[in-house]
């Protein structure tokens, strides 16, 4: 299969990058240019990724692993090489430790599910620690696990400026703690959490550390070995890849020791009607036909991001976030939920605007072509923590420009006047 053309940019040229994204040419509502500020929800896809996706289906489509024919070998090769790309993208020691799931949520459910039984299964008295700033997908799986096993769910609170309240870390994470699962970069507050510090405490008591990196892997260079964690979950559609694919990375010894999740084709070693034995990693956790074309396209997304350079992507994210924070904090009656300084912070800014409801803010912005998200962004507890039911969120990515931020600020002004 031909290599996807990779964009390489000496200096970061956002206008040039934007040309890679066909959708950024869209006009909405009365021919207004699209201002897409909802990338924390899902990112847009560059032509380089879409081309690989189409080429796969038009030239190489086949099921994998099972086929002894040319297409089968090409498809298997493309799928497995995507796994290798992902592994090296996040610094995983081995591609076998990368499990393709359908999204981040499934990856988090996978790890929570396999901790429900077997030797390492949780029991009454055991504790799971999460935080108040988690996405619902890193709350509900652990609630279900605790319900099913009788374990207890505990959580870190959040300070008024949107940081984890770590003052009680030594009592919260204690000898009963079996799992500590938390978000790397919050999709609501933007907060970047101190992974090493929490992981160290968790490991000191023998707990497994799970990191929800759904927002961080798209934005920052992430090295799972450097972070010192055990399991990481992230998702293709937020990192220029297709929908329908997510990833779990886990340390080999851990994944090998845990029981299977879904059963079926490809995850077995041998099947009799009475009992089955299971395949080694990564197949053990990939039952049925995987998202083959999605993995191949995701590999192209990884190539695309690598071509730009994750350092450059992160630098752009920092700059645009700093620009947005300073512009937004000037807007009268605007209150940012989360850190207002661009330090240890990702590119999602949630805010309230006086008494104008976020739905109404977003609707007015949409009327001017500006796409933001309104609601609780799958983080109801953290909104409650800040005394609101919902907020408006603007979020950025490698193609976001400062003039789009200016348009947002102007739009907010219109919203306030409309409802004022």
């Amino acid at each position: 299969m031909s290599q996807p053309p990779v964009a390489t940019h000496a200096a970061y040229d956002v206008e040039l990058l934007r040309k890679d994204f066909p959708i950024l040419e869209r006009r909405v509502h009365d021919n207004q240019p699209l201002v897409y500020l909802d990338s924390a929800n899902t990112s847009q896809k560059p032509r380089q990724v879409l081309d690989v996706l189409t080429e796969f289906y038009e030239q190489h489509n086949s099921n994998i692993h099972r086929a002894t024919h040319a297409l089968g070998e090409e498809a298997t090769e493309a799928y497995e090489s995507a796994r290798m790309k992902v592994a090296s993208f996040i610094g995983a020691p081995s591609a076998d430790e990368i499990i393709f799931t359908k999204n981040s949520s499934e990856a988090l459910n996978l790890i929570a599910n396999v901790l429900a039984w077997g030797e390492r299964g949780l029991k009454p008295g055991d504790e799971v620690v999460i935080t108040e700033m988690e996405h619902h997908s890193n709350i509900v799986p652990w609630q279900l696990l605790c319900e099913r096993t009788g374990a207890t769910l505990r959580w870190f609170g959040v300070t008024d400026d949107g940081r984890l309240d770590l003052s009680d870390i030594d009592t919260l994470i204690n000898e009963h703690t079996k799992v500590v699962s938390f978000v790397h970069v919050s999709n609501v507050l933007g907060t970047l959490n101190p992974v090493a510090l929490i992981a160290a405490r968790a490991h000191a008591v023998g707990a497994i550390v799970v990191l929800d990196a759904s927002q961080s892997v798209p934005q920052l260079p992430v090295d799972v070995q450097e972070l010192g964690i055990d399991v990481v979950a992230f998702t293709g559609h937020k990192m220029c890849g297709p929908t329908g694919i997510g990833m779990l990375w886990g340390r080999r010894e851990l994944l090998e020791a845990l029981p299977p999740f879904l059963g079926g084709g490809e995850m077995i070693e041998t099947v009799t009607m009475e009992r089955s034995t299971y395949a080694g990693l990564p197949h053990k956790y990939e039952a049925g036909t995987p998202p083959i074309a999605e993995a191949v396209a995701l590999g192209a997304a990884v190539d695309y991001l690598t071509g730009i350079g994750m350092d450059a992507v992160a630098a752009h994210e920092r700059e645009i976030t700093a620009y947005a924070l300073s512009a937004l904090t000037e807007v009268p009656e605007l209150r940012v939920l989360g850190p207002t300084e661009p330090v240890d912070r990702g590119g999602a800014i949630s805010f309230t605007l006086g008494s104008v409801h976020p739905h109404d803010v977003a609707q007015i912005l949409d009327g001017h072509g500006i796409a933001v998200r309104a609601g609780h962004h799958c983080g109801r507890p953290i909104h409650r923590r800040f005394g609101v039911a919902a907020s408006t969120r603007a979020s950025f990515y490698l193609y976001t420009t400062t003039s789009e931020i200016d348009a947002l600020v102007a739009g907010l002004d219109k919203a306030k006047r409309f409802f004022g």
């Binding site: 976020p358 739905h359 609707q363 009327g367 309104a374 409309f418």
Partner: protein, 158 residues
């Protein structure tokens, strides 16, 4: 600008000065409904008097559309026959699901006709329907209670 097709003056008026807002006694049933996507919530109470809706009171958290819709709803049903209210409910739900296609019946819907434009925005239809769904639920429960001749309040979370 097409935003005006959603934000009709009538809607903005109801939003700015909502009618019948606040929780009142006495009531037969209180319900609490939630819009899972955005977290908007309404607590709504219904008092029936035979076949008449004698009061509807509510407390809600939500956008202009959901606030105005609750206000319009109470205007339409308080003091009216339950059946007339249910007819309005049916009309309103049909209007909201029409994707801008239906011609609303002003006889039945009164101020609620202003929501026709909202039906073009599927994401906002849920906002407009929140209070209506709560009212229907509460009314059905109240009717059930009264046929069972029970007077206890049921705080159902549905």
């Amino acid at each position: 600008m097409q935003l005006e097709s959603m934000y009709q003056e009538i809607i903005l008026d109801h939003y700015r000065t909502p009618h019948h807002k606040g929780l009142r006694e006495p009531f037969d049933v209180e319900v609490h409904h939630v819009n899972p996507t955005c977290g908007d919530e309404i607590t709504l109470r219904v008092k029936l008097d035979g076949s008449t809706v004698s009061d509807v009171s509510y407390d809600s958290l939500g956008c202009s559309i959901s606030q105005a819709s609750a206000s319009v709803l109470t205007d339409l049903v308080i003091g009216r026959d339950i059946d007339a209210g249910l007819t309005a409910h049916r009309e309103f739900v049909a209007l909201m699901q029409s994707r801008g296609e239906a011609v609303p019946d002003e006889e039945i819907l009164e101020d609620a006709v202003a929501f026709a434009g909202v039906s073009k925005y599927p994401a906002r239809v849920k906002c407009a329907l929140l209070s209506w769904m709560a009212w229907k639920d509460a009314t059905a429960q109240a009717q059930e209670h009264s046929t069972m001749s029970e007077g206890d309040n049921d705080d159902r979370d549905s």
